[in-house]
């Protein structure tokens, strides 16, 4: 081998969706990328793969010239077999078109060793071409690599069910599904906006993005609550900021700094609780008081479990314990391995309303499980449903029949919104 | 050398020889005993080493078995039997296990002989362990050459297999066989152990190790090591580290071989010769002291003994000497009844007999001398008497018969008478002269001058007898002697006269002077008719003469003069060849 003879040629850069641009532009391509993933991942990929394969074939042919070449393709990338076959087909087709015939090594004048590889951004395909004895050349093409979003889990457990709603790279604080005459709408609350998607052909498409303007520094573990309202579309609560949507189209949102307590349920007359503006928990001050309890422990989340004559409140306290407030007593449950997020879910089974609880433990996976609290002691009511990452938000939906769970996938770091519903099992 | 000295010497020699023979025999016995003891000690040390080697081998086996029984090794064995895809994860296991068991070497080797983990060369995993095929099955410890990053070394190894499933996992562990190992050996005092690691094709002095690393003076051990390297057999040799034999060491070289009989090392068990040599020296010095004292005592004893033995002999000798000089009264006083006593009695009897004999002889000689003197006197006197008688008778007859002629006859007769009377007077004068020989008046005298003066006296006479040739051989540097030159002149003149008389027909007269020892010698030689031995014996007897005329006093006078000067005179004569008189005069 004479390394000095090694030469290389490259493709023209295949346009990427990324450029060094403003944040707005970046969000734009992210949205496009989302569409690419959610809507048409296979078709777009196949076309790009074929184009790149042809480019590579063209370059190989330019080096070898017409004749018989031994072609070997090795896949070291995340491309699946189908894609590799597409690449192979396209590559061989283009080679034939350029007068290069693939043959066995002993029948060919040269060889082309194609390696399908990738880096974190793009696929990189390299062909090492050996013609004659010592001449070894390398040609390369690259094409952007789609960001793999988490595939929605499809399995539905018998008792608890999860329905994948949406995934995006930015943190989702809360989500809500609205059935409207014009079709379903999906509202996603994140740090900067409320995004409204409408469903078209079974897929969510962005309809509008309502920016949330706030002056305060948002806490690191940002939490937000999106509550649907009857007189207007929604209220959005963020630490120190409350936003209200316009009552009439076009949709708009108005935000103002406020330390008003957040409603703990969607009911208008619900108990409200103060949220620390620079932190991620409720202070424990209730308004109105829960029975006689005006100040409970600081807590991350609360769930209202209706009982005959009273409401049992379950609070996931900051210290890791679970408090059960019935307006008279504050019972602390310590020996449970529950996460910080809990919500009520209505199932008509058992006590009628179950406590939906996230699990604490390994951040690479998380699960939700329903518990009944018949006599103030939690009793497991469902098998857990698993998620591929920690649950970062869990809120009851406005009607309390379902819950919204936001999961941060461990493998991609993307945020996924799920609707959790409960059905009676056996 | 006196008899006593001889006896003493004989005794001393005998004692010395006895001591020497005993010493040599003791030395030889001691040496062979010591050598045997030394050899036995070396053999004992070698045997001890072998047993130590065996023990250490067993220890290594025990440690390797302990390693094999560890959970770690069992786990690894299980994993490789389960087809663990990546066996390289065990790299540091061997070192941990080796540390636990205090092993210098430890390797975990799979059934194909590939190192999974090596304590001594961690980087060597994945490489084959060449010793494995040969070492499998060896029950005890064995020697092995071990490659290390810093070079090769020797080790005492053992191999065991962990068998979980079909594929055994071999555990091959060992201890380093180097100076550290030597330092742990339990060896007797006075011995030391050196190890030659036979790692190179050629002799490498750095591979010879003692307790402190490469051994000093390795080159001196080269022949011994080479011998073992070539023969593969045990060998012995004594190495002299310095001219002092106490610094020598006796080495017993033991070959150390690996499983396939490859010579991997040579163990040299050295025993210092110092104790042996010092013991030998002590024995020798004691022996010398004892022997020397013995010889001294023996000499003293022999001196006493010789004195005791030789005293009567010496008395006898003294008596004999006295007898020899004429003291026949000498007696030997010995109170002994042994042979010496008898000898002394015999001697005493002999002297008594001698005295009697001498008396008798003296008496006979005196009679004979008187007879001779009487005969000579009668002869001398008879000769003139006869003419006197004839003349007187002629005068008587002439007076009677022819008185005319008487006067004439008277005149003639008286002249004859006077002549003969003169002759008689001369004869009587000679005898008288001999009787009254004067005592020498000594003064420093040059003998040569006396000789010259004699020759001058005889010059005319010799000139007349032209047939006599005179030779003088006078030593020019002849020292002066204390002598009476007149007496010497008479004595020499007598000798010259005798010589002339001895050569009537002519011949050669030689006078020779020379210094002989502390004396001056004069010899007078003639080439005359010579003398018989009997004549020689009687030559100096007074009044003895061989001549037809002469008194026979000439040589007696010569002997008298010489004797008076403290000298001596001798004569040598060969019949018909000549006679030489030799006169020695002290200075």
């Amino acid at each position: 081998m004479n390394i000095g003879l090694e030469l290389a040629s490259y493709n023209h850069c295949i346009p990427q969706m990324q450029s060094h641009g403003s944040r707005g532009t970046r969000l734009g391509w992210l949205a496009l990328l989302l569409l690419a993933i959610v809507l048409l991942p296979q078709n777009l990929s196949a076309s790009a793969l074929t184009d790149a394969a042809r480019q590579l074939a063209h370059k190989i042919a330019a080096v070898t010239g017409p004749g018989a070449v031994a072609l070997e393709i090795t896949n070291r990338s995340s491309l699946d077999d189908r894609s590799v076959n597409e690449v192979r087909t396209a590559l061989e087709g283009q080679l034939r078109g350029e007068g290069v015939r693939t043959a066995k090594p002993d029948e060919s004048v040269g060889s082309a060793q194609v390696t399908l590889s990738e880096n974190l951004r793009e696929y990189v395909w390299a062909a090492e071409i050996v013609v004659g004895q010592d001449e070894r050349r390398v040609v390369l093409v690259s094409l952007p690599r789609p960001q793999t979003g988490g595939a929605p889990a499809s399995a539905m457990p018998v008792v608890l069910r999860r329905t994948f709603l949406f995934a995006q790279e930015q943190p989702i604080l809360d989500a809500a599904l609205v059935e409207m005459p014009a079709g379903s709408r999906l509202l996603l609350l994140d740090a900067d906006r409320v995004a409204v998607y409408h469903q078209q052909s079974g897929r969510w498409e962005l309809e509008s993005a309502l920016p949330i303007l706030h002056a305060r520094t948002m806490p690191r573990d940002l939490r937000g609550r999106l509550l649907l309202r009857r007189d207007h579309l929604f209220d959005a609560y963020l630490p120190g900021t409350i936003c209200r949507s316009s009552a009439a189209p076009p949709p708009a949102v108005a935000c103002n700094d406020s330390d008003e307590p957040w409603p703990l349920t969607a009911d208008d007359g619900s108990v409200r609780a103060s949220f620390t503006p620079a932190r991620n928990f409720f202070t424990g001050a209730f308004s109105p008081p829960i029975g006689k309890v005006a100040n409970g422990p600081s807590f991350y989340s609360a769930a209202a479990l209706p009982r005959s004559g009273y409401t049992l409140w379950a609070l996931a306290a900051v210290d890791g314990s679970v408090h059960l407030l019935d307006g008279m007593t504050d019972q602390v449950i310590r020996n449970v391995r529950w996460g910080s997020d809990l919500a009520a879910i209505h199932s008509n089974c058992g006590t009628g309303t179950q406590l939906l609880v996230s699990q604490s433990g390994d951040p690479s996976e998380d699960s939700l499980r329903a518990f009944d609290i018949p006599d103030r002691d939690p009793v497991t009511a469902s098998a857990p449903i698993e998620f591929d990452g920690p649950i970062v938000a869990l809120w009851s939906e406005s009607n309390s029949t379902n819950a919204i769970a936001i999961v941060k996938r461990e493998d991609t770091g993307w945020y996924e919104a799920y609707r959790i519903s409960a059905a009676c099992g056996s | 050398m006196s008899f006593r000295q001889k006896l003493l010497l004989l005794f001393a020699l005998t004692v010395f020889l006895c001591v020497a023979v005993i010493t040599a025999s003791v030395w030889s016995t001691m040496r062979s005993s010591f050598e045997a003891a030394n050899r036995e000690r070396a053999n004992a040390v070698a045997a001890q080493f072998r047993s130590e080697f065996q023990r250490r081998g067993d220890e290594v086996v025990r440690k390797v078995e302990a390693v094999t029984a560890t959970d770690t090794v069992q786990r690894i064995a299980l994993e490789i039997n389960r087809g663990a895809s990546d066996s390289a994860g065990y790299v540091s296991e061997a070192r941990n296990l080796a540390d636990q068991q205090h092993l210098d070497f430890l390797e975990l080797v799979d059934h194909q002989g590939t190192i999974l983990s090596s304590a001594q060369w961690q980087a060597k995993f994945g490489y084959p362990e060449p010793a494995i095929p040969g070492a499998i099955g060896s029950a005890g410890g064995f020697l092995k050459r071990e490659e290390l990053p810093s070079g090769s070394t020797l080790g005492l190894f053992a191999v065991r297999a962990a068998r979980i499933g079909e594929q055994p996992l071999y555990v091959i562990g060992g201890e380093r066989l180097d100076q550290g190992y030597l330092s742990t050996l339990d060896i007797p005092a006075g011995t030391r152990v050196l190890l030659y690691q036979n790692l190179d094709e050629k002799w490498n002095p750095k591979s010879l190790l003692d307790l402190n690393g490469p051994a000093a003076g390795a080159e001196k051990l080269l022949p011994l090591v080479e011998q073992v390297r070539q023969t593969g057999q045990e060998a012995r040799s004594v190495i002299h580290w310095s001219p002092d034999s106490a610094d020598a060491e006796s080495f017993h070289a033991i070959p150390l071989s690996g499983p396939n009989q490859t010579l991997l090392g040579v163990l040299l068990v050295g025993s210092s010769q110092r104790p042996l040599v010092e013991l030998q020296r002590k024995v020798v010095s004691t022996a010398l002291l004892v022997g020397g004292s013995g010889i001294f005592v023996a000499i003293l004893a022999s001196l006493w003994f010789a004195t005791r033995v030789t005293r009567p002999v010496k008395s006898l000798a003294e008596a004999a000497r006295r007898v020899a000089v004429g003291d026949l009264a000498a007696k030997v006083e010995i109170d002994s009844t042994d042979e010496l006593g008898e000898l002394a009695s015999a001697f005493n009897r002999m002297t008594e007999d001698l005295v009697q004999q001498k008396d008798r002889t003296l008496q006979a000689e005196r009679v004979a001398a008187w007879r001779e003197l009487a005969r000579r006197l009668a002869h001398e006197l008879k000769n003139p008497l006869f003419p006197l008688q004839v003349t007187v008778e002629n005068l008587v007859r002439a007076r009677e018969k022819a008185p005319e002629m008487f006067d004439e006859v008277f005149r003639e007769g008286t002249s004859t008478l006077l002549a003969e009377i003169t002759n008689l007077k001369t004869i009587i004068g000679r005898f008288s002269e001999f009787a009254k020989m004067p005592q020498p008046q000594r003064k420093p005298t040059q003998l040569n001058e006396v000789v010259q003066s004699v020759l001058r006296v005889f010059h005319a006479q010799l000139q007349d007898k032209k047939q006599i040739t005179v030779h003088t051989e006078l030593e020019t540097s002849l020292p002066e002697i204390s002598a009476d030159s007149d007496l010497l002149h008479r004595a020499i003149s007598n000798l010259v006269l005798n010589a002339i008389d001895a050569m009537p027909q002519g011949g050669e007269l030689t006078l020779r002077t020379q210094t002989v020892g502390g004396a001056v010698e004069l010899s007078v030689s003639d080439t005359g008719s010579g003398l018989t031995p009997e004549e020689c014996e009687r030559l100096f007897t007074p009044y003895y003469t061989t001549k037809l005329h002469g008194t026979g006093l000439g040589l007696a006078i010569v002997q008298s003069v010489v004797s008076d000067h403290g000298g001596k005179i001798s004569v040598e004569s060969v019949k018909d060849r000549g006679t030489t008189f030799r006169m020695d005069l002290p200075r």
Partner: protein
């Protein structure tokens, strides 16, 4: 080390059963241990990779950069929220975040940042106007944002004691040089106050000590030895951000390129990776890791002793002295193994720390997820001429990297990741794949 990892995992699994909230909790003191024992809080010029990462992590806690890079090399906002290039990459304009203040309360205005960057890079033209910062360079600088994202370009001022004052999530509360560093949460951090109140960093602690301390629950975050199969919630491994390579100094006795080529051909990297690096890292013959470049397949890593012998062709070659960084615990074994491999082709390599080396086993940092920036930094660290790159595309990268490797004055061996481990009470442990620790997002379980 393997045993320690097992212990760590066991400890982690035991501790993981403790009940606790999953929602981030504010408060608490995060206890950290590091190998580095810096006397000043600056990136060391001649430190080990560990020193680099430790200081980079400290600076990342205290300071911000204008922009940051994610693992894919994408630019993320930092103190600048938007950016654009003009004049073909010779001029870059950054819009700065409003209202950011240094820990001493002073404003991190465009003018201040321009002054800081201008002082760091006198050859740049740095101009500030209102909320905009403009940087002009003489040559085209497509990787300028990546350069700005490097820890050395952190926006910071130093007080009279040399303590950095930045805009990061933590401020330096106390610094005992070489021993201890205490960071306190910055309350008005623009990205939100960190969850923990205080970060206590014990400096100069050996890896083994760190592991034991973690086992004894005396520390929350430690460095760990990367090894395969140990990724878990408690032990995180980054992408490969270090390069281990053999470097021939200019005065090497291996002047014959055939010898260097042959040596490269003898090295069997796979056993070293699986045995000595405990499966961590990736054998390589390229400077940039595949996750950056994507074309490493064209740099073959297979050993070929026969070819090495053929290359040498019975020529007489000198014995080579190989040295290594004694501060690197694995380096000696790897050097030994390389010497062992070289023997097979008849090349004598002696591993020694004394004398002038003919070849050195080095470990360098690939500091940026931007391949062009990392290639440039690596070339500099390896003593090669820095390549001139128009972009980070493979079109530019491949020939540049190939040119650096021609002549075998560098033999890349492995790309290595970093690993860290955390205690069970640490939550939201999401170390950056590029090696950063991101401790601002970490929160601690309630005691």
């Amino acid at each position: 080390m393997r045993r320690i990892v097992f212990l760590l995992l066991a400890a982690a699994s035991l501790l993981g059963t403790a009940p606790g909230a999953t929602r981030p909790r504010y408060g608490g003191t995060l206890r950290v241990m590091m190998q580095a024992a810096p006397n000043t809080l600056e990136i060391p010029a001649a430190g080990t990779p560990s020193d680099y990462w430790n200081l980079a992590r400290i600076l990342a806690m205290v300071t911000d950069t204008l922009v940051t890079l994610d693992a894919a090399g994408h630019i993320e906002p930092g103190l600048a929220t938007t950016w654009q290039s003009e004049m073909n990459g010779k001029r870059w304009q950054f819009t700065l975040r409003h209202g950011v203040r240094f820990h001493d309360g002073s404003s991190a205005s465009a003018a201040v940042i321009a002054k800081i960057l201008g002082d760091l890079h006198p050859d740049w033209g740095v101009h500030a106007s209102a909320d905009t910062l403009t940087i002009e360079t003489d040559s085209i600088s497509p990787s300028l944002p990546a350069e700005l994202a490097l820890p050395r370009n952190a926006i910071l001022r130093r007080n009279s004691d040399g303590i950095p004052i930045g805009t990061g999530p933590f401020r330096v509360a106390e610094f005992q040089p070489g021993r201890h560093l205490k960071l306190a949460a910055s309350e008005d951090r623009w990205a939100g106050r960190p969850f923990v109140d205080v970060v206590e960093i014990d400096l100069g602690r050996a890896l083994r000590d760190q592991a034991i301390a973690l086992e004894l629950n005396k520390v929350d975050v430690i460095e760990a030895s990367p090894q395969s199969g140990t990724n878990s919630a408690r032990i995180g491994t980054s992408l490969q951000v270090e390069l281990m390579a053999l470097v021939f100094p200019p005065n090497t006795r291996a002047q014959d390129a055939r010898l260097r080529d042959a040596l490269a051909l003898t090295i069997n990297r796979k056993p070293i990776q699986s045995g000595l690096l405990r499966g961590a890292g990736e054998p390589t013959a390229a400077i940039l890791p595949n996750w950056m470049s994507g074309y490493n397949a064209v740099f073959p890593v297979q050993a070929n002793v026969q070819r090495a012998r053929a290359v040498l062709a019975d020529s007489r070659q000198p014995a080579l002295t190989l040295n290594y960084d004694p501060r690197d615990p694995q380096a000696q074994l790897i050097a030994d193994r390389i010497a062992l491999n070289a023997r097979e082709a008849g090349i004598t390599v002696q591993v020694s720390l004394s004398g002038s080396p003919d070849v050195s086993l080095v470990r360098i940092v690939l500091p940026s997820s931007d391949p062009a920036t990392s290639l440039r930094e690596a070339a500099q660290a390896l003593g090669l001429n820095a390549p001139i790159l128009r972009s980070s595309s493979v079109d530019d990268l491949y020939p540049a990297e190939r040119a650096l490797l021609d002549g075998h004055s560098v033999i890349p061996l492995f790309h290595l990741p970093l690993a860290s481990a955390v205690s069970a009470r640490v939550h939201n442990w999401n170390p950056e794949r590029g090696g950063g620790w991101n401790l601002a997002d970490v929160w601690l379980e309630a005691p």
